[in-house]
């Protein structure tokens, strides 16, 4: 398995996604306001705020899983996982850029989360457990 350009590509797309998630974590207000009606109460705002923070925090947790698998060397040289991860995170980076600039309602974040954060993290976890517990791959 030779070192191709896939490894830096995977790293850079993960970092791009991570940076955008941190930026959204810091500037949530506009996105929450877009998902509420014209006049909203503070309790509605707080509820949506909490929900959004939970979604972003879970995303950061899944990032930790994926980064441990990648930087720890467990799945660094697996081309399928690398390709899936690169595609999912670059799609997430593009979608999150639109999310920021066009001020999407915060419910739409769950779709981005499902396809672009949960999917690579789940396959990563499957690979990690497979390698560590069942000694697959070597």
């Amino acid at each position: 398995m030779q070192a191709t350009g896939l490894i830096p590509a995977r790293f850079l797309t993960i970092i791009a996604h991570l940076v955008l998630v941190i930026v959204i974590l810091w500037t949530r207000d506009e996105n929450i306001k877009m998902s509420l009606a014209e006049e909203y109460s503070q309790s509605e705002f707080d509820q949506k705020n909490t929900e959004f923070i939970v979604a972003l925090s879970i995303t950061l947790g899944l990032f930790a899983v994926e980064l441990i698998g990648f930087v720890g060397g467990v799945t660094m040289f697996m081309s399928f996982q690398g390709l899936l991860s690169t595609a999912a995170h670059s799609a997430a980076a593009i979608a999150l850029s639109y999310f920021l600039f066009d001020q999407w309602p915060c419910e739409w974040y769950w779709y981005i989360f499902g396809f672009c954060s949960a999917l690579p993290a789940i396959t990563e976890a499957v690979y990690i457990i497979g390698i560590l517990c069942f000694r697959k791959g070597f």
């Binding site: 830096p8 790293f11 850079l12 970092i15 791009a16 940076v19 941190i22 930026v23 810091w26």
Partner: protein, 189 residues
């Protein structure tokens, strides 16, 4: 110069001959893998960090006071030059196992890059925007980890080369023909 190196990276004098022999036999290389990974990914991350920082600087140029305009431009110019030199020296020093280059890279990281990136991170008077915060925090993690891992890498490399030099003196004693012959090592001072 050896006195400064001895002060920063002291060699354990308590190793006995047997342990030196084991080290000599078992270690084929002292290239540090975590440091190499950090430098590699840092090389890829640096252009994007730099472009992002310049874009943010352009966006907030109007609202900055004069002092921070000058300070931030100076920081970015200096950081660019220092980073290129530091990454190149670190690559060269770690892969070719050369102590002077690696020590130079480590000193550049510790004394120049580390304070600069801390300043970029913490100084709220320069109107830190969220994107800037995210980018600078990542860069600070890279630099901090390189300082810590680099110290251990240099210490291992210095230990290895000192024991190799000592053993070479003993093993080459039979081959020495005249007084002008010195075994060549990479541990130059």
């Amino acid at each position: 110069m050896t006195s400064v190196t001895d002060l920063l990276f002291p060699v354990h004098k308590s190793r006995d001959e047997l342990k030196q022999h084991i080290i000599w036999k078992n270690q084929e290389y002292v290239t540090n893998l975590p440091l190499q990974m950090l430098l590699y990914f840092n090389c890829f991350y640096f252009p994007f960090w730099f472009i992002g920082s310049l874009v943010i600087l352009d966006l907030k140029w109007e609202r900055l006071i004069d002092l921070y305009r000058i300070v931030l431009v100076a920081i970015y110019v200096v950081y660019f030059i220092i980073e290129v030199v530091r990454l190149y020296l670190g690559y060269l020093g770690n892969l070719m196992e050369r102590v002077p280059e690696l020590a130079g890279s480590w000193l550049l990281t510790l004394l120049l890059t580390f304070p600069l990136i801390l300043l970029l991170n913490i100084n709220d008077n320069a109107l830190l925007l969220p994107l800037e915060r995210a980018l600078h925090i990542l860069m600070a993690i890279f630099v901090g980890l390189e300082v810590i891992v680099g110290y251990f890498a240099i210490r291992a490399m210095v230990n290895y080369q000192v024991t190799k030099y000592h053993l070479q003196q003993f093993s080459d004693l039979d081959n020495m023909e005249d007084n002008e012959y010195f075994p060549e090592t990479r541990y130059t001072s």
